[in-house]
């Protein structure tokens, strides 16, 4: 069955069973489930009525046993420690050593730090993966059909929805925390490897049957105000290290000096400034990639020229936006993830820099997330096609190596979604006829800025008018694609086997696309 972005969704994907019995549907277009009702799933919680001093256990292994982890269960993790994370590998090692199998990992995201999991997949111990990001060896083995069930890839908002709606049921959540008290009140500041916020882990703590907090820094009770509340936590484990602090918080992303990135960033800022939403009190989110991040720098003089300020910025936070706030040009920063030490330092001390949960950020199934009120979002892409569909998950070899992250959430929510990408990367045409995988549907993407020109989604007559009025040139996206192919040549179609290795969920839980097993290339 073809969905509304023209992707064939095979019966085998639609037949994948969800825990709550909900049946998968193909993607039906922007805002499809708006106004519908859902019944939230509830966890089973143990009663702790008698006074007790401590929830401390001496090891992760003890926690795995105490939580009753057994064959067929789903365990969850968050990705606030990014490439510095030790938690996933430590916990999975204990589970595997205990001979437990048929495990599903439901993480907010997974990355290069988790290469050891690839081996568990190949051995058939890990049989399910639900995540936003999948990269490195894990991406490779899943793309080569080694995972028993299709991986389910969701946006950050879509993951919260899936947990709350009960599509996935977390048996045990393992939550790494920079600090915790012995009762499980956990914070992301004050430890050895601070990550600033624990936004993505909150839903796990509220919806998992068992919750384990793992920390390397125990602090006196009560560790307040907590990101993860002790009332949701069964056990606390102290380990030597939760991760590599240097990789948990990288030094501030250096502003790109690449002239191509700078040119695109400057053009993006001019486009934003030409739209009707660029007025005092606007809201804004940008990614941490080179050209997206540089937009901050070019936006500032345009704000000054118009004498306006930004009311709030959300998303993954970087030092760049914190600095803009320090100059008095941003009202509030609402933070779901910190990308650098500058952002973490800022949330520690700045009363106008707040932590929010992933649900508040981007969940399409609550009563209105931040993304719904966003004016502008600036995002990157691996590929954009002539229908404005975006791919951020599969490389030009068809292998999984990315993450939808907040991309589909902010794109659907924001009034103006701008994708910034060079027309080609090496020999890869970024603007193409058909993206390998649709991860953000074209009906949510408004403007595409490249080094060869800008294209506006023809559905957005209002933006086209605004750019025309400002004398900003734009061309049909087809023209950009043709230019790209004239430079790099028309790519051959990727060769796939039949097996579906991953399902790309739209944020509302319909199926946007599937990824199939890649066929080794032979010349």
């Amino acid at each position: 069955m073809k969905n509304s972005v023209g992707r064939e969704i095979p019966a085998e994907a639609l037949a994948v069973e969800l825990k709550n019995g909900r049946k998968y549907e193909p993607y039906q277009g922007k805002g499809y489930r708006d106004g519908k009702y859902i019944k939230k799933a509830g966890p089973t919680t143990k009663i702790y009525q008698k006074p007790s001093e401590s929830k401390l256990l001496s090891s992760i292994r003890e926690a795995v046993i105490a939580c009753g982890v057994k064959d067929g269960m789903t365990v969850s993790f968050h990705h606030h420690f990014r490439n510095g994370d030790y938690i996933v590998n430590m916990v999975m090692k204990e589970i595997v050593d205990l001979g437990i199998k048929d495990i599903t990992i439901a993480a907010s995201s997974l990355g290069d730090a988790h290469d050891p999991i690839a081996e568990y997949i190949e051995k058939g111990i890990v049989t399910g993966i639900q995540t936003s990001g999948i990269r490195g060896k894990m991406g490779d083995v899943v793309s080569h059909g080694k995972l028993k069930t299709p991986a389910i890839l969701r946006s950050h908002g879509g993951r919260v929805r899936a947990v709350e709606e009960g599509d996935v049921h977390i048996d045990v959540a393992f939550i790494g925390a920079p600090t915790s008290d012995e009762y499980g009140n956990a914070r992301a500041l004050g430890g050895k490897g601070d990550c600033g916020v624990l936004s993505y882990a909150v839903v796990d703590s509220e919806y998992a049957d068992k919750v384990v907090v793992i920390t390397d820094t125990l602090v006196p009770y009560p560790n307040f105000p907590p990101s993860i509340h002790g009332v949701n936590v069964d056990y606390v484990v102290k380990v030597d290290e939760i991760g590599n602090p240097k990789k948990i918080a990288s030094a501030a992303a250096r502003m790109t000096q690449n002239p191509r990135d700078l040119m695109m960033a400057e053009n993006t800022a001019k486009i934003i400034a030409a739209t009707p939403w660029f007025k005092d009190g606007f809201s804004f989110q940008t990614g941490a990639g080179g050209p997206s991040l540089a937009v901050n720098r070019f936006l500032e003089p345009l704000m000054d020229a118009k004498g306006i300020k930004m009311a709030w910025a959300i998303g993954g936070i970087t030092a760049a936006i914190c600095e803009l706030q320090r100059k008095g040009k941003v009202g509030k920063i609402i933070d779901v993830q910190d990308f650098d030490t500058g952002a973490i330092e800022d949330i520690r001390t700045n009363p106008n820099h707040f932590e929010m949960t992933a649900s508040e950020y981007a969940n399409p199934a609550n009563k209105g997330a931040f993304v719904n009120k966003l004016d502008f979002v600036v995002l990157a892409a691996l590929e954009v096609d002539t229908d404005f569909n975006v791919n951020v998950i599969t490389g030009s070899d068809g292998v999984l190596r990315g993450a939808p992250g907040g991309h589909p959430d902010t794109a659907e929510g924001a009034k103006c979604c701008v994708i910034v990408t060079p027309l080609t990367r090496g020999r890869m045409a970024t603007i193409c006829e058909h993206v390998v995988t649709v991860t953000t549907p074209g009906d949510c993407v408004d403007v595409v800025v490249t080094d060869y020109g800008t294209a506006v989604n023809p559905n957005r007559k209002d933006i086209i008018e605004a750019l025309d009025a400002a004398g900003i040139k734009h061309v049909p996206i087809k023209e950009l694609q043709e230019k790209a192919y004239s430079m790099v040549g028309r790519p051959d179609d990727l060769q796939w086997k039949d097996k579906v290795v991953a399902i790309l969920e739209a944020r509302d839980g319909t199926i946007l696309d599937v990824v199939r097993e890649i066929k080794p290339y032979e010349i």
Binding site: G426, R427, M428, D492, Q495, I523
Partner: protein
């Protein structure tokens, strides 16, 4: 003009391709191709390399191509340069621009 020794040109940088030609007396062209874009462009890269070799009159050689997303114009340039280096001809000699080099 004939390959006398191993000729190499290009780099492993992005958008470039490293080409190595090794002479041999028989056995035709033995092409080893690695590319960061092999799934989408492997066929075209191979065709471009073989066409350049044919223009240059190379009948027997071991050819190693390590591509990082080079465009066709770069592929041609590196194959030709590797060839003339392998022929050990004067780097400032008179090359056949627009003839076999095209």
């Amino acid at each position: 003009m004939e390959l006398k020794a191993v000729g190499t040109a290009g780099t492993l940088e992005s958008s470039d391709v490293m080409v190595t030609l090794e002479p041999r007396t028989s056995g035709g062209i033995d092409l080893t191709l690695e590319s960061s874009v092999i799934n989408q462009y492997g066929r075209q890269i191979k065709a471009e390399v073989l066409a350049s070799l044919e223009r240059l009159g190379v009948k027997n050689a071991k050819v190693i191509v390590n591509d990082h997303g080079a465009l066709d114009c770069t592929i041609k340039a590196r194959v030709e340069c590797a060839f003339y280096r392998g022929c050990q001809c004067d780097m400032d000699g008179r090359f056949d621009w627009g003839g076999v080099i095209r």
